[in-house]
């Protein structure tokens, strides 16, 4: 919401010498965030110019610039060289003859941007044709300002080249823009902002002049017929509970709104249109009450406010035909023909036109929920809907209509009808019984009773200190009509703290009674992440959005659960509508990006959630928020949220060990992924079992390790990715990957490790070379050896694998070093040989191994 300082000064006294920044700071101090400052920081010459001619000149960079000659009156080059201004312009939204805004050399634009004649695109450009954002008028930078479009043809016709545009556009005056929070609808008016500024100055007596405090004629039976017929209120709230209709006849349609009003509307970021429309907008900005102006000649005699019927349509002012919903509240002509969507937008049919002489001014109070839903349904966020959604003062209605009537009479030469319609179903709000010590308890500042009551009265509350319900501690507070947000003690506490000053709140460190620290899971996850980083991998984060083709690219089987992905209804990109079901699904993009940036050797990992609905999504209940949902509802609520297991994904490509003076580098291969898994396993002290897995996408069928816990629980997979997957995803050949279920590992690491005792007797070592068929897994051979080697076995190390001429085709030789150590004695050679022979015999029996 914007506010020029002069308008603010009409309703309250500005602090002496206050400038825009001071006003903004005052408003910040009472909780209204500063958005921007407009105007006041601009130095001319900034003048009206007429485009006399231009030449389009294509540039090497593909742009087309316009080399323009502009009449800027007796300024600039006319003054110094006797010719019209020559300016280069990049915009294309104007024609020869258009009036534009020209900034001339010597001027300074907002942001301390000094304008000088400068050479650009092969010409000396003597200034610039301005866009809205360049002069602090708005945020538009789509093209330059064409004054006939900004101000209207009529207004523009009265302008001459060389006219001062600073005064014309109100840029010499500072305009403060504040961000209005949803609870402070009343601050969408100068009336409300002025009141807040007054509070920030200490609410001095007589320092605030309410523009709505005007005499209003009493309603009578002679006014225009209005019926409020909401048969299906939303949540029990009548869609329209007050409707004021006033008629002004005989307005001269040729008379524009006064220039001071046009200037203010421009400063507020609105476009002047016609007297009737400008007046309704001006009054809305002044007191926050959206108004609508109907052409009386286009109405048939009565207005009925009702809900829409199914299938009904209305062409709104923006020329869009809208199919209405039975929840939409309508203003209708005689109960039939829709005239407007209440509080959102009027219809084209009853719009005031260039010929309108008799105007019906509507000032109504609509239900916030009804307006919010209609605005959302029709994607129409209008100045009116934004105010109604946040709550409009239900007592300002008649005054707002009167202000509009007065302005139409004064500037349009019209005559008000004596009939005054005011259908008023509003009820006065009940008083709240406030414990005056409660604000102190909530805020932590000791506010004396008088301070609390003083602030409440300044805010416009009615405070009753005696009578039923009032006592030493309690008072009866009725909030002002413009503050629907003030309901209970915390609301009042915020007001007390806000007006007294939030910065009076001290800083007191809370003292929890002592927590349990990080959970095991939280610690274990850090261990996993740290172990992988310690192993030379770099942690990255990727977006979880993936494409529909990805499942095929990863060669996932048709029945793979990873194909059951959650789909977004409104993805950022239609190409990536699904949520990842594995970390690798999105991590591959990160790897590709790194490779594209010239990193040949990359080893990355990501720890995060994946989304595994396991089938179609369920429906989560939406219980009432009035109290805690019952256990069964909560159970359904939690159960409807799909499983989101925590995974870690790892990818590596290129050299895992660098080349250097020590020799060549070593490319990452499948074993590095198994090693990374083992690093995690060791860090968590959770032993894992590695087995060959010939059929797990997206891995290479011959180079994929299946990782399980000792009890067989699946942990994940590690190895080289399938060459076809790599090709489909445009990843480097031989890229390797692993993905592990962190939840499984975390759970497995919960049990405290039980320590083994160590023997201090000397170890005895013996080597065996076993010839096995090539398709026998080394892990199986080792398991067989272990099974029969006896308790004295300390370790088995596979120290050589040989496949080649010296062994039978289709076979390979596995060389193991077995280390034995007894707890209570030094083993003899005979004992060790016996253990070894038993182990070899078991390997022979289970895997067909033959000792070489």
């Amino acid at each position: 919401m914007r506010m020029p300082l002069s308008w603010l000064a009409e309703y309250t006294d500005l602090a002496p010498g206050a400038r825009g920044a001071d006003v903004a700071a005052s408003l910040v101090s009472v909780g209204l965030e500063e958005e921007d400052l407009h105007g006041g920081d601009l130095k001319g010459p900034l003048v009206v110019g007429r485009v006399l001619d231009f030449v389009v000149e294509p540039q090497k960079n593909g742009k087309k610039i316009r080399w323009c000659t502009v009449d800027v009156g007796q300024n600039g080059q006319m003054l110094t060289e006797g010719k019209h201004q020559e300016i280069v312009c990049g915009a294309h939204n104007f024609e020869v003859g258009d009036l534009v805004v020209v900034v001339l050399p010597g001027a300074v634009l907002p942001g301390n941007f000094e304008i000088a004649a400068r050479k650009t695109y092969g010409h000396v450009s003597n200034g610039m044709i301005c866009a809205e954002d360049e002069i602090g008028l708005g945020h538009d930078h789509e093209g330059i300002i064409v004054l006939s479009r900004l101000l209207g043809e009529e207004k523009a016709a009265a302008l001459s080249p060389g006219d001062d545009a600073i005064a014309l556009l109100g840029l010499g005056e500072e305009t403060v823009e504040t961000n209005v929070t949803p609870d402070r609808g009343y601050c969408f008016s100068v009336r409300g902002l002025a009141r807040e500024y007054w509070h920030a100055q200490g609410s001095p007596r007589g320092g605030y002049r309410d523009p709505a405090a005007i005499a209003v004629p009493a309603p009578n039976g002679d006014g225009y017929t209005v019926e409020l017929k909401d048969e299906t209120p939303l949540e029990g709230n009548e869609g329209c509970d007050r409707y004021v209709a006033r008629i002004v006849r005989g307005i001269d349609p040729s008379r524009p709104s006064p220039s001071w009003m046009q200037k203010r509307l421009t400063q507020m970021g609105m476009r002047p249109i016609s007297l009737a429309v400008d007046v309704t907008n001006y009054v809305m900005l002044a007191v926050g009450q959206p108004l609508h102006a109907f052409d009386v000649d286009r109405l048939s005699g009565s207005i009925v406010v009702r809900r829409a019927r199914a299938g009904e349509t209305l062409t709104t002012l923006d020329d869009v035909e809208r199919t209405l919903s039975p929840e939409d509240l309508l203003i209708t002509d005689g109960g039939e023909h829709p005239l407007a969507i209440a509080g959102v937008m009027g219809g084209a049919s009853s719009e005031v036109a260039a010929t309108t002489t008799d105007v019906l001014v509507e000032a109504a109070h609509f239900d916030p929920t009804t307006v919010a839903r209609s605005a959302r349904r029709h994607r129409l966020a209008t100045e009116a809907s934004k105010r109604f959604e946040r709550g409009v003062d239900p007592k300002v209605t008649a005054a707002a209509a009167q202000l509009a009537v007065d302005l139409l009479v004064e500037h349009g030469g019209g005559t008000p009808d004596p009939g005054v319609t005011d259908v008023d179903h509003t009820t006065d709000r009940a008083a709240y019984r406030l414990d005056v010590t409660e604000p102190s308890r909530i805020v932590g500042v000791d506010y004396p009773r008088e301070r609390v009551l003083g602030i409440l009265r300044d805010l416009g509350c009615e405070v009753v200190e005696s009578g039923e319900g009032a006592d030493d501690v309690h008072v009866l507070v009725t909030p002002p009509s413009w503050r629907p947000d003030l309901v209970d003690a915390p609301d009042y506490a915020e007001e007390i703290a806000r007006i007294d000053g939030y910065n009076n709140i001290p800083s007191v460190t809370p003292t929890p009674s002592g927590g349990r620290g990080l959970t095991h899971s939280q610690k274990a996850r850090r261990v996993v992440a740290d172990a992988l980083a310690g192993a030379g991998l770099t942690e990255v984060l990727s977006y979880p959005f993936v494409s529909e083709e990805l499942a095929d690219q990863l060669m996932l089987p048709a029945d793979d659960d990873r194909r059951n992905a959650v789909r977004l209804a409104n993805p950022l990109s239609e190409e990536r509508p699904l949520l990842r079901t594995s970390i690798l699904a999105s991590l591959v993009d990160t790897l590709r990006r790194n490779v594209a940036r010239g990193h040949k050797d990359v080893a990355i990992y990501e720890l995060g959630l994946v989304f595994r609905p396991g089938g179609p999504l369920g429906t989560a209940p939406i219980p009432s928020v009035a109290s805690r949902p019952d256990a069964e509802t909560l159970e359904r609520l939690y159960a409807a949220v799909p499983a989101q297991p925590r995974r870690v994904g790892i990818l590596a490509t290129g050299l895992i060990e660098q080349a250097g003076w020590w020799g060549p580098g070593r490319p990452a291969d499948w074993s590095d992924m198994v090693a990374a898994v083992q690093a995690v396993s060791a860090a968590l002290a959770v032993p894992v079992v590695v087995a060959n897995d010939a059929a797990h996408a997206p891995w290479h069928p011959g180079r994929c390790a299946r990782i399980t816990l000792a009890d067989g629980t699946l942990v994940g997979h590690a190895g080289e990715l399938h060459p076809k997957v790599l090709a489909a995803l445009d990843l480097p050949a031989r890229t390797v990957a692993a993905e592990l279920d962190v939840d499984v590992l975390v759970r497995a690491s919960e049990e405290p490790v039980q320590a083994r005792s160590f023997s201090t007797f000397p170890p005895a070592m013996t080597d065996v070379a076993l010839l096995v068929r090539s398709d026998v897994a080394a892990a199986d051979v080792e398991a067989a050896l272990r099974s029969a080697a006896g308790d004295a076995l300390e370790s088995i190390v596979l120290f050589d694998v040989y496949e080649g001429e010296r062994v039978e085709a289709g076979h390979r030789s596995l060389a193991y070093r077995l280390t034995f150590r007894a707890a209570d004695r030094t083993l003899t050679t005979e004992e060790v040989n016996g253990f070894r022979d038993a182990a070899v015999a078991a390997a022979a029996a289970r895997t067909g191994a033959v000792q070489r």
């Binding site: 920081d41 909530i442 999504l617 060990e657």
Partner: protein, 386 residues
């Protein structure tokens, strides 16, 4: 040396057998025991020892002058042939001579070993400035590290860490937080909805549903810090990303006030930006809290000097002198009731901030792209702790 061989008679030798009963004493044959000869042998040995320039040479010297065939060893052997009266004196003389040689050998041995060790160290010199890293170092992502930093400080003060799902029920993400379907604030949040949209599920837009879950499951007192990933339908640009991270704190206890909220916020700011950081607070609106509060902290670059509209406004704070931290407030009574907590007994506060923003401010990260793109160079500058 083996005794059996040493004492075997050597018939082929031109020398006289050296051992045996001293029955045939012959002064000529024991000339080796002549003092002059012994002195000469010692002098010769000492000279050879001194001349030995390496351990190998010394080894040869040792064999020649201390070995079985050395003059002194031969002399020693002949003592047995002396008459008992001469044995003592000869024995003493030979013993002293051998002692001098042995000591000289030992001394020289130590000297030469020291020289050798010295030389080896020189010879083994390398250039330690050549590259040493064969396996590149890994790194954590700084977003995780910033979260850990904040979490650890709060855990150290007795708070606990709570977490929740990223794909969350609409009720927990909105309704339970006093963001009803028609609430204007709900429209401001650009939510990722799931297909079908009536599933009642969304990608959470804030970490606040974690607070609701905690309040539903746990009796007060509650002191939790909830870090996590959140989602909004913003396109990636310098200040926005559709996936980002928040960290929120929630405290529910008896007698908590806005002063406690301010205390917790101050602690938070100091953990991130140093113990001297100053804060200011102002009113704001959040449906989840009432009263609500917005916190700014003094810009650590310009130290609060307003630079609005100047030629070079402060790049950290944009010129206001203050940096917005994030929203907070006392937990709305409606929210407490929804979670089954009696607002007449307990009160509480909540606050949160974006971790990306904290990372950008604290570490001078210019844009959002670097944080989300996963370029390994980005993570690698931060190591394992921030």
């Amino acid at each position: 040396m083996r005794r059996t061989t040493d004492h075997a008679p050597n018939e082929s030798s031109e020398r006289t057998p050296m051992s045996g009963p001293n029955t045939n004493y012959d002064p000529v044959e024991v000339s080796a025991l002549d003092p002059a000869n012994i002195d000469a042998a010692v002098e010769e040995a000492l000279a050879a020892i001194a001349a030995a320039g390496s351990l190998d040479e010394l080894k040869a010297v040792r064999t020649a002058h201390q070995g079985d065939r050395s003059p002194l060893a031969l002399a020693n052997r002949e003592i047995g042939a002396l008459p008992p009266s001469a044995k003592a004196e000869a024995g003493k003389r030979v013993g002293q001579a051998r002692g001098r040689v042995a000591q000289a050998l030992a001394t020289r041995q130590v000297e030469l070993e020291a020289e050798r060790d010295e030389r080896i160290l020189v010879e083994e010199r390398v250039d330690v400035t050549v590259p040493a890293v064969r396996r590149p170092h890994g790194a954590r992502h700084p977003i995780e590290l910033v979260a850990q930093r904040l979490v650890d400080a709060f855990v150290g003060s007795g708070w606990e860490v709570a977490e929740g799902p990223e794909l969350e029920s609409e009720w927990l993400n909105f309704d339970a937080l006093n963001l009803g379907p028609d609430h204007p604030a709900r429209q401001m949040q650009d939510t990722f909805f799931l297909d079908p949209v009536d599933s009642g599920l969304v990608l959470r837009t804030q970490t606040s549903p974690v607070q609701i879950r905690t309040m539903l499951e746990k009796e007060p007192p509650i002191y939790i810090v909830a870090p996590g990933k959140v989602f909004r339908t913003d396109d990636l640009d310098a200040t926005h990303t559709p996936v980002f991270h928040q960290i929120e704190c929630l405290a529910i206890d008896k007698g908590l006030t806005m002063a406690h909220l301010r205390g917790a916020l101050d602690a938070f700011v100091r953990i991130m930006f140093g113990p001297e950081t100053r804060t200011r607070v102002r009113a704001n609106y959040f449906p989840f809290t009432e009263p609500s509060m917005e916190t700014d902290f003094l810009c650590f670059t310009c130290h609060g000097e307003e630079t609005w509209g100047s030629a070079e406004p402060c790049r950290t704070c944009g010129g206001s002198g203050w940096i917005e931290l994030g929203g907070s407030g006392m937990v709305n009574r409606k929210v407490l009731r929804t979670c089954g907590i009696d607002p007449d007994v307990y009160s509480g506060f909540a606050f949160g901030l974006g971790i990306e923003r904290a990372l950008q401010l604290r570490h001078g990260v210019q844009g959002m792209h670097e944080i989300v793109e996963g370029d390994v160079r980005f993570s690698q500058q931060f190591g394992m702790e921030v």
